[in-house]
Structure formats: C-alpha cells, structure tokens
Amino acid sequence: MNREVILLLFPVMAGFCIPFGIKVSSKFGRVISLTSYLAGIIYGIIHLPGVMVKSRNVIIGNWIPPFGINLFFSPFTLGIVILIYGIASLVLLFDLYNTESRRGQYYLLYSLFVVSSVGMVLTGDIFNLFVFLEMGVIASSALIALGENTSGPERSLRYLIQAQGTSLLMLGGIALLYSAVGALNMAVFSRFEALKPSFALLTAVLILLPVLMQIKLYPLNTWAGGAFNSALTSFSASFCCIWATAGGVVLARFVLTIMNNESAFSSVTEKIRMLILVLGSLTILIGEAAALREKKLKRVLAFSSIGQMGMIAVGISAAGFASLKGALILLLSHAMAMALLFFTAGFLIRKSGTDQWRKMKGIGRKLYFPGGFFAVGAVALVGFPMFSGFWGKIELIRGVMAPGGIYIAGAAAILIGTIIEGVYFTRIVLSFFQHGGDWNKASYNPGFMLPSVILCAAVILTGVYPALIDFWLLSSIYELLNPKDFYADIIL
C-alpha cells in the first residue's frame, strides 16, 4: 500500500550495512552503495508509469497527513529522484576507477547525502525538510573537508557555519509559522486562510533562507567557489548536481505550490516572487562575471553553476508555463552537463597536474576524449542549438519576458549571462584545442569513459529530440501550476 517509501530506504540500508561489510572486504562500501542506487533507479522507473497517471501520497506510520509525516510521489518528484539516483551511481562509477580506495565511512556519508537529497525532494512536511537539510549539510561538510588540497577544512567550515546559521533561522521561521497555522504539513499551508502580510513575509524569508543558500543565490553564495574547488572531484560533481537540483526542486515547491495565491502566504506571493527574481538576476550577473575572471578550472565551473541556478530561480519566479518549462529543462541539463564537466575537469586536472585552465593549453589535441566531452558539456550548458540547454534557454527567455514589467530585466540578465557564459566557455575550449604544450597520450579507464559517454548521450539526446521528456515536463508543470488539484487535494 505505502511501499513506495522503500525508494528512500535503499541507501539507508546500504549505509547501515557498510560498517559490517568493511570488516569483510574493503570494496564492500562502494559496491553496496552502487547497488542501492541502481536499485533506487529501477524501483523508481517501475513506479513511474503509475505515478504519471495519478500522484500518490505515501503516509508513514499510518497517520493521516496533517498529523503525521507524508512523502509526496508525483511525476515531478519521482523524475527528479530518478535523476538524483542516476547521477549518484555515475559518480560512484567514476569513483570506482579514478581514486584510491577510501574508508568505509566515506561511502556511508555519501549514502546519507543521497538520502537527504532524495528526502528533501519527496517530503511533504516542513520540519522533516529541515531535518533532511541538516543531514545533507553534515554529510556534505564532512565530505568537503576530505578535499584534495589543504584548504578543504576551511572551506567546509565556511559552508557549515553559513548553512547551520541559515537552517537555524529556518527553524525559527517554522516555529513562528506553526504558532499561526497550527500544523507543519506543507499541504496545509498551501490552502489556509491568509497570514498577516508582514508576518507572512517574515516567515517566508526565514524559511526560504537556507534554500536560497543551498542553491547558491547571491548574498549567500560566498562559500560556493572555494568549496567546489577544494572538494574531491567526484564529490564536487555530486554536490553541484544532486544537492543543487534538490534545492531547486524545494524552491519550486515553496514558491509555486506552498506560497501561491490561495495559500497562507497569499498576501505576499508577488513580493516573494519579486525578491527571488531580483536575487536570481543579481546571481546570474555576479556568478557569470566571476567565472569570466577566474583562472582555476573547477572554480570556473562552480561560478558557472551559480549563474545557472540564478537562471533557474528567475524562471521559477516568473511562474508561467513557458518559464517553468525552461527552468525545468535547465535544471535537468544543468545536472547532466555539470556532472560531465566536473568529471572531465577532474580527469584533466589529474593528468595535467595543474588546476588552471590557461596552463592546459593544447591538452585536447592529445586527449581527444576529455577535450571533446568538455566541449560537449560546455556547449550544452551554454545552450547551443541541438543541445539540451538550447530549448531550456529559449523557453526560459520567452517565458520570463511574458509577464512584462520588471521581468524584462530578468530576461535581459539571462541573455547577458548566456553571452558571458558563451565567451568564457569558448575561450576555455579553444585554448584546449590550440597548438602548443606537449602532453602525453593517456589511457582511459572505463570508470571515466562510461559515465561520461552516458552523460554525453543524455545531453545530446534531450537536445536533438526534446519530445523525449515532454510528457514528464508537462505533467510536472501542471502539478506545479495547479497546486490545489495536484498537491493539496491529494494529500489532505
């Protein structure tokens, strides 16, 4: 009846088994985590057709929603969960061959990190969301601190302190909201009588703070560049793709279904959207400008990811059909292309022994595959025609322009950001394929080739034939835009 909850439990089981398994074999950790993520993908795909027909409310402990905790299985959330599991297993594949053996606790923490991202996407209870957020913060700060260079602990501390401070403020917001509404379920908020405007704005800002911080929106993203640069490549990839995707989903859920026009926040809906629009536009400009000036390859990718998340936030804030379609396509293409870019960047940095892209001049002429993969990822991220980002950006700009007024500025920011993105990625790719520099040919192991080829194929396939994901996109957008029929009525 409520068996779908198992989808969330595969990595938990793996995590609990790891301390016993590593007594037997040192490879147990990676094998069982990989198995659990693959099981998650299969389980999710089995349940996807049924969920596409009708969203499901999975209750826990037999307590009906406003009183107990529930998980919400809709096309939107289940699709994102499958994506998360997919990227997590690709990251582990990359890990399998490209790093020395790690201690079992690494895989344990990684499993818990995946659990927390999946839980954030699925949960329907605001305090449960906070708990999952904290779990992810603890696991990811430990994993960042294990980073490649000595600045790892410092970067991770910066991240941890900001994340913990904002999450605590979120807890305060939850308390204030509870004292006014008397429930913690998010579906209750989405159709409750209106809060006082000032009080609603206060609680909304407090609750949105950690979400904005996790998706790296402007005033709260000072940790991002350093953290992504110092973490291990495989973890930067997953942190950038999985965690930011989960954060984007939570933001979309908050802005569109919980703080909509009929909700408890109905008096401040417009203000919240405006706030996110302004912050998102600033994020695009600042992130892309920082990426333009940056010399270290992984930092460039981090700032580029900041810019992309800004675009997604702007798309969510416009809250139209086209803009949401653009934002969702961009969310997918960001996750896939960024994973590809981080894998190749990690490979290149290891082979060349430097982390600055200017010093990697001509590396693509000898190492065709990494250079080619990087080019494909960059092109997909910037949004050249026939790649996944293209449809996203077209729809996004069209959709953000539609409401008019200040949203035109948001569209302009997206356009400018895309141009800057194009400039620096072209510069990097060109320098990779220039003459000069003497690099040795390298052998490619399956741990690098397999994930990269899969991601490349996914990026090109969704670009050439976007109808492939159209069905999923349409049902997700309907769900987000009609919260009453597709969210609240199903849960309550």
């Binding site: 609990f16 016993f20 037999n62 905790i69």
Partner: protein, 249 residues
C-alpha cells in the same frame, strides 16, 4: 586593525538593532490576518495528539481519555514521547541518521592525538568513577524504559550513558574499545529499520505500530514505543560515546 574591528562591531550592532526592529514591527502589525499565536491549542494538530484520535475521521467522537483504559491508537501517557516516537517517528529516524553521519564523519576526520599529556586521575576518583558510572547507567536505563510514562527517553538516556563513558574516559587511560560502539550503532539502526519494515508489511505503512498498545499508564504498554526508544537509546549512546572517544584521544 583594532579600529577596524571596532567599526565592524558597531556596524553589526546597528544591523542587529535593525533586524530586531523589523521583527518587532512584523510581529506587532495591526493589519488583518493570522499572526503569532493566532492558533490556539484547539486549532493545532496537537489537540488530536492529546485526545489520541488522529486516525479517527470524526474528531469529536472520542470525548475523553482515561488512565488505565486500553484500546487507544497510541498508548503513551507522555504525549511528547507519543509525538516523537509514534506520530512523528520518521523525523526521529532521520535525527538518528544525523547522529550516525556525525559520528562517521568525526571518525573519518579525526586522528589520534600525537603528543599525549599522560595524566592519570587520583585514587579517589578512580574508585568513585565506577560506582558513579553504574549509578548513572541504571538511571539512564530507567529513563529510557519509562520514556512513555515520564519525561525522558532514548535521547536523554542515551546521552546519560554516553556521559558515563565520558567519566570513564576522563578517569582512566585504558578505554572501552571504540570498535564496539562502531558496530553497535549500525546494529541499532538496522533494528529500527527492521521495526519500520515490519510495520510496513504487517500494517501497511512504514513505522506503523504493530504491537498492542496496552492500557494507558501501565509500565508495559504503548506497543512499539518501548522497543523503539530502547533502540534509539542504544544508538544515541553508542554514537555519542564514539564521538567522545574520538575527541578525547
């Protein structure tokens, strides 16, 4: 440098006064709408927790709760325990995972102390500590097993057991082996998971209580709450002890 710091302090104080003023204005706004404390106890979800009528469709059907009577959906006399271990057990499960993550992360990041200042405690402390430990652990077991009747439960009891071990770490050089904590913790977690899954297969939902709830207020009552709290207690105790062992040497 000094002056710079002073400027930063003053600036932050001004910022904080601004924040306080904004919060004050937001909370004392006189416009129409719901605001702080506008939900009374009757409007909150806790009202149904108190009357133990969450799963009933008609909220007014159950008009009273009597001590010693059986047949309630949840048999804990301590409503906070009922909320933690039954109504919102999934949250608690996630917290346990957080502690698990913290202890694993601490184990991963910590190294052994290099320069150890050896300082054995005196003879009085060394004789007193085992007795105090015994006493503390007995109290902790009481707190854990009576979590459904009186204040306390797995978290406080587990922390008490961990503090007993802290006393041991302080007093003696030779310590209980860390390996046992590292294995006990996931074992308790697997126990919790098994409890949840058996609820899923016997009652149709994860973490559903499948044991009889007993009569309200009795020592052996409240179904799975005692088992779950014992498992949480073991897990919290081993997690916190493992963290303390890592930090203390």
């Amino acid at each position: 440098m000094k002056r710079n710091e002073l400027l930063i302090n003053i600036f932050t104080i001004i910022l904080i006064i601004l924040i306080a003023a904004i919060v004050y204005l937001a909370l004392t706004d006189s416009r129409k709408g719901l605001t702080l404390f506008s939900a009374r106890l009757e409007d909150r979800v806790s009202y149904r927790y108190l009357f133990k009528c969450v799963s009933e469709t008609d909220a007014l059907k159950q008009r009273s709760v009597r001590i010693g009577q059986s047949g309630y959906e949840n048999g804990a006399a301590n409503i906070v325990t009922a909320v933690i271990v039954d109504y919102r057990l999934f949250d608690t499960f996630c917290e346990v995972l957080i502690l698990f993550a913290a202890s694993a992360g601490v184990t991963l990041l910590m190294e052994k102390r290099k320069k150890r200042i050896k300082k054995e405690a005196g003879i009085i402390v060394q004789t007193a500590v085992p007795m105090i430990m015994l006493f503390t652990i007995v109290v902790a077991f009481y707190i854990i097993l009576h979590g459904h009747l009186s204040p306390g439960g797995g978290f406080s009891g587990g922390a008490l057991i961990a503090s007993a071990f802290i006393l041991q770490f302080i007093a003696f050089e030779k310590k209980l082996s860390k390996r046992w904590f590292a294995l006990l913790e996931p074992l308790a977690g697997l126990g919790l998971l098994a409890f949840g899954l058996s609820g899923l297969y016997l009652r149709g939902s994860f973490f559903a209580n499948f044991l009889p709830t007993g009569s309200l207020g009795a020592t052996i009552s409240a179904g799975g709450i005692m088992i779950v709290y014992a498992l949480i207690g073991i897990k919290v105790a081993s997690g916190l002890s493992s963290i303390s062992a890592d930090f203390s040497g």
